[in-house]
């Protein structure tokens, strides 16, 4: 356990090193936040209470999206490039010999990264958004805590999906295409484009039960206080269920990959 804590701390520090890049990212998140906030204002002006959100809830959703974009790696970006490169070059053979679990090792690093992105890339855009617009921030500290738990579960789901995609490099060698398809799905079904409760009919129903809704829609609804009591437990169970299922799938694929695929050598 200590090993993985060290790896997680390393993941945090690794991203924390690039201060200028973080600042640049915060700037870009804020610009996008402003652009999207104005489009949402136009939309909710036309149709107040659309999707069950009032104007300030809708605006809060926009800024939550910007705050969680990097944390939950909705557009990819994180360990998967590196892992795929190691598979392609054959370095993965060294990793498999290490006295550490491959999946847990990468997950620890990714959790460290997510923790940094939540602090470094999440807080400032949210504060700037709250200064410029009237946001629906939770009054109770318990709601904030509940939100953090939901974000943590979202990060694990996001990791599990990206781990599966990265392993595809065992078969495809150049996994860029597979990764792009995965982040497209993440972008669309997480609610980053538009809250999922604005998706029409069946599309909306399907989007809500797919794993990606754990990345933004569910944490955002927890933040906005949509869930209370058992509903909250249900939301957590939904996220945790996907996390466990996808992590197990990753383990399965990993054992198939390491047994059946010849590692590239050189």
């Amino acid at each position: 356990m200590r090993l993985y804590a060290v790896v997680a701390a390393g993941g945090f520090r690794r991203y924390a090193t690039y201060r200028v890049a973080t600042l640049a990212g915060v700037f870009t998140n804020t610009v996008f936040g402003f652009i999207m906030a104005y489009t949402y204002i136009a939309l909710w002006d036309e149709r107040p209470h659309l999707g069950g959100y009032d104007m300030s809830q809708a605006l809060t959703y926009v800024w939550l999206g910007q705050a969680l974009l990097m944390t939950c790696a909705m557009m990819g970006g994180g360990f998967e490039d590196e892992l795929m490169e190691r598979i392609r070059t054959g370095d993965i053979a060294v990793d498999l010999y290490r006295p550490a679990d491959l999946q847990l090792w990468w997950m620890a690093g990714d959790l460290g990264r997510a923790a940094f992105h939540l602090l470094g890339r999440g807080i400032v855009p949210m504060v700037l958004g709250a200064m410029a617009f009237d946001l629906a921030l939770p009054g109770s500290p318990w709601t904030w805590l509940a939100f953090l738990v939901s974000v943590a579960l979202g990060v694990v789901v996001s990791f599990a999906v990206r781990f599966l995609v990265a392993l595809s490099a065992f078969w495809l060698m150049d996994g860029a295409g597979a990764m792009q398809i995965a982040w497209l799905a993440g972008l669309f079904f997480s609610g980053m484009l538009l809250p999922l409760n604005l998706f029409p009919g069946v599309l909306g129903d399907v989007a809500r039960v797919l794993p990606w809704s754990s990345l933004l829609q569910v944490p955002a609804d927890v933040f906005l206080g949509t869930y209370a009591g058992w509903d909250l437990a249900g939301a957590y169970a939904f996220q945790a269920g996907w996390a466990v299922a996808l992590l197990l799938a990753g383990r399965l694929l990993q054992s198939v990959a390491t047994r059946r695929v010849v590692v590239q050598g050189g």
Binding site: V20, A24, T28, Y38, A42, G177, I181, L193, L194, L198
Partner: protein, 285 residues
Amino acid sequence: MEGVVAAEPGNGFAKRSRPAEGVRAYGLIVAMWLRSTMAYRASFVMTAVGNFVATGFDFVAIMLMFTHVDVLGGYTLPEVALLYGTSATAFGLADLVLGSMDRLGRRVRDGTLDTLLVRPVPVLAQVAADRFALRRLGRITQGLLVLGYALLVLDVQWTPLKVAMLPMTVLSGAAVFGAVFVVGAAFQFYAQDASEVQNAFTYGGTTLLQYPPSVFAKDLVRGVTFVVPLAFVSWLPALYVLGRDYPLDLPRWVAFLPPLVAVGCWVIAGLAWRVGLRAYRSTGS
């Protein structure tokens, strides 16, 4: 678009017909990257389709918005599609030709820019062609499709002038975005890790232009009209075609200025690039 590259002033140690040389080198490097891309053909097809779908999502989001409303900021879906189509196509062209320039910061950081400096080829051409990504055709295709849709369903009194304005808009817009890419790259000589700031103006800019100007706060509209002249990429000419009023009190003929604005942007971009390149200090490793 290669003409735009040619319009860039040479970088310092000029010889004979430096721009032509740059364009030729750009073409050669691009051809090399094309062959390299085609080595992993399945990945190319997937990334090109992915590029198409990713940019398409922006428009899907707009269409989803229009399932709930008839007008957004006073504009109908076909009108928004015209704004979207012109800006997305213009951005797509600039992204295809110069989009790789945001990798410059990485080259500055790891010192590989030195390799480019010793080659007898303009650095701008080398940086622009570096890792040329043909998959970006996906974005152009998507933009053109939305533009086509807009032209099919729009109810506009077409005049020869309005028709001629469309290619003018797209090409000048691409040039303006291209200049933004070059200024962004020049900025990276100083702020090596800050390449993401550029995204706020490029990707952020095209996202902004996809919505009607009436949606945004006046100060924001002023900023993209007078400071970073993105409004000339699509808003001003497209609103002229639509016969709509611009939120700011500007004379009608401003709609015809995009080519001039593009030239102005490239003069500034050329200067910025020279200044940036001169300021470059190698990591020495």
